[in-house]
Amino acid sequence: MAENTPAGSTTDGAIQVGGPKQPIDARVSAPASYDVADFPVPHGREEEWRFTPLERLRGLHDGTAVADGGVKVEVKAPEGVTVETVGRDDARVGSSGKPVDRVAAQAYSSFEKASVVSVPKETVLTEPVRITVHGEGGVAFGHQVIEIGAFAEAVVVIDHTGDATLAANVEYLIGDGAKLTVVSVQDWDDSAVHVAQHTALVGRDATFKSVIVTFGGDLVRLHPRVVYGAPGGEAELYGLYFTDAGQHQEHRLFVDHDTPHCRSNVAYKGALQGKDAHAVWIGDVLIRAAAEGTDTYELNRNLVLTDGARVDSVPNLEIETGEIVGAGHASATGRFDDEQLFYLMARGIPADEARRLVVRGFFAELVQQIGVADVEERLLTKIEAELGASVA
């Protein structure tokens, strides 16, 4: 891909090896906490907020957003899966880690009931658990726990639709040797605001695979985080986003390698089109001194289809031990430009089909990672529709 960077974009990633520095996680304005009062109200200059248009958060960041219960959550689970609604005092709630920014802490401080989905140990599900989160125009603070027992295997699809102003925490507790795949689809109406922290606590020899698919929303800001509870854990974090005119879609990842012999692989790809489409990708990977034998790679690719879109892609890799298997990152933003269009059209391919060909090809390898046929199908349909809108 051409490594041309659209005007105004950043790809100022960094690799730091050893030396005195502030750890990635300490660059934020306050330490992690369950209490929103521990975080100052952000003003936009803070490292973790500098790309986010705060004025579009509808008060989620400054305490003015008040819950009015406008989000409906439904869980459809195959037999053997336990679905509960629990209070704040449930031991599992908050057990994967603390909220790391003000909005996540606001969600944690404000939710009343948490939804807990549990797959008992050694249970291998043949059907996905389906969680639908449908916004009905209101403000909501959510909390979801997904708990997979030792050696269990499950696929969970979380589908976000409708209009909402939602701040939430999602926790994945993955038992030893368990395998969890989560597909989170953000198919919101164009007016929705969705800010969420996803924290996965990966057990010994467990596998966590996350596929984030973001299409909708006025502002979507997701913060998938991975921590390892014991050696041998593996995390695969995939993401696709299609950012349209006026949308702000931000994916901030953090993989905390604090345990030996764990692996992580991150691949996010986004297509952008239209005026003021803004995608932000932050990929923070920290390999702490104790995490010998770590193997990690992260990649972000962006395809800019039209003028007027902006990408900020910032990979950060911080390595505190040399005793690792591998560590790398890559980020590139390319344009689908008039010359490419001319080339394809000069081979008889009509303009709209040329664009479709390029975008489908760009996303293909990640679409295959979803592994849930109806979601893949819907995604491809969605891509077609988005492209149709751009040609019109």
Binding site: Q340, R347, G348, I349
Partner: protein, 255 residues
């Protein structure tokens, strides 16, 4: 028999200080089965002719006509021209991220032929065309022109020529940047297409080297935006010996 007729073609491009005339009255007729070499110094407008015929948006046709079997080519969009049978092998083919060669070739063949080629025969067709051009089968899985060497890009262009079977093939400096082996293989590909007798070829080149492999029926000398002399293959020999100086005495050619 397919005939491309170019009549009094004037073309300009948008430059810093307003439009600049590049083509200043080109007349040329190319018939199916014929091979025309267009030769000229850098900046004479050869490539502009090629891209104008294919419909590149950068070039503005200010006057003149181009018809293919009587149909107005200039009225057609870029993809319509290709489907009508005009093919341009580009000097600098662009990278297309995310699109594999095999997907690209099939999509393009489907567009040109009006229906998707039958999978079994198609796979064979592509495989044998690639073999003849000495292309590794793994090539088909790479993204279009991404990380291709100069030779690979030109082979890929000629592969498309062989598969798409146009009525009029315009080869823009296909010989540039090729070593002798690659030049021979690429030329053989062009000759296979020519031997069908179904294509009219417009071979645009700066050097006479490729004409040792691809014998033209006609040679035209291009200078300052028009054809200044036409002749048979012997004209190429004259150019080989004397260069372009004789044609550059007037007209302010700039590189």
């Amino acid at each position: 028999m397919a005939t491309l007729e170019i009549h009094d073609l004037h073309v300009s491009v948008e430059a810093e200080n307003g439009p600049r005339d590049i083509l200043k009255g080109v007349d040329l007729t190319v018939k199916q089965g014929e091979t025309h070499a267009i030769m000229g110094p850098n900046g004479s407008g050869k490539s502009t002719l090629a891209y104008s015929l294919a419909g590149h948006p950068k070039y503005t046709i200010t006057s003149g006509t181009v018809t293919l079997d009587g149909e107005d080519v200039l009225e057609m969009s870029v993809d319509e021209r290709a489907r009508a049978g005009v093919f341009l092998a580009m000097q600098y083919p662009v990278e297309v991220p995310g699109v594999s060669v095999s997907n690209f070739l099939r999509t393009s063949a489907t567009a040109i032929r009006g229906e998707a080629p039958k999978l079994r025969t198609w796979v064979k067709e592509v495989k044998s065309a690639m073999e003849q051009l000495q292309m590794d089968p793994a090539f088909a899985e790479r993204n279009v022109n991404e990380g291709f060497s100069g030779g690979e890009k030109k082979r890929h262009e000629i592969l498309q020529l062989e598969l798409l079977k146009p009525k009029i093939a315009i080869l823009d400096e296909t010989d540039s940047g090729l070593d002798v082996d690659a030049l021979r293989q690429v030329s053989e590909g062009v000759n296979r297409v020519r031997e069908t007798g179904e294509v009219g070829t417009l071979l645009i080149t700066h050097y006479t080297r490729i004409l040792r492999y691809i014998k033209p029926d006609f040679v035209h000398v291009f200078s300052n935006g028009r054809i200044v002399e036409s002749g048979g293959a012997e004209l190429a020999d004259k150019l080989e010996n004397e260069g372009y100086e004789a044609y550059q005495t007037k007209g302010g050619v700039t590189a």
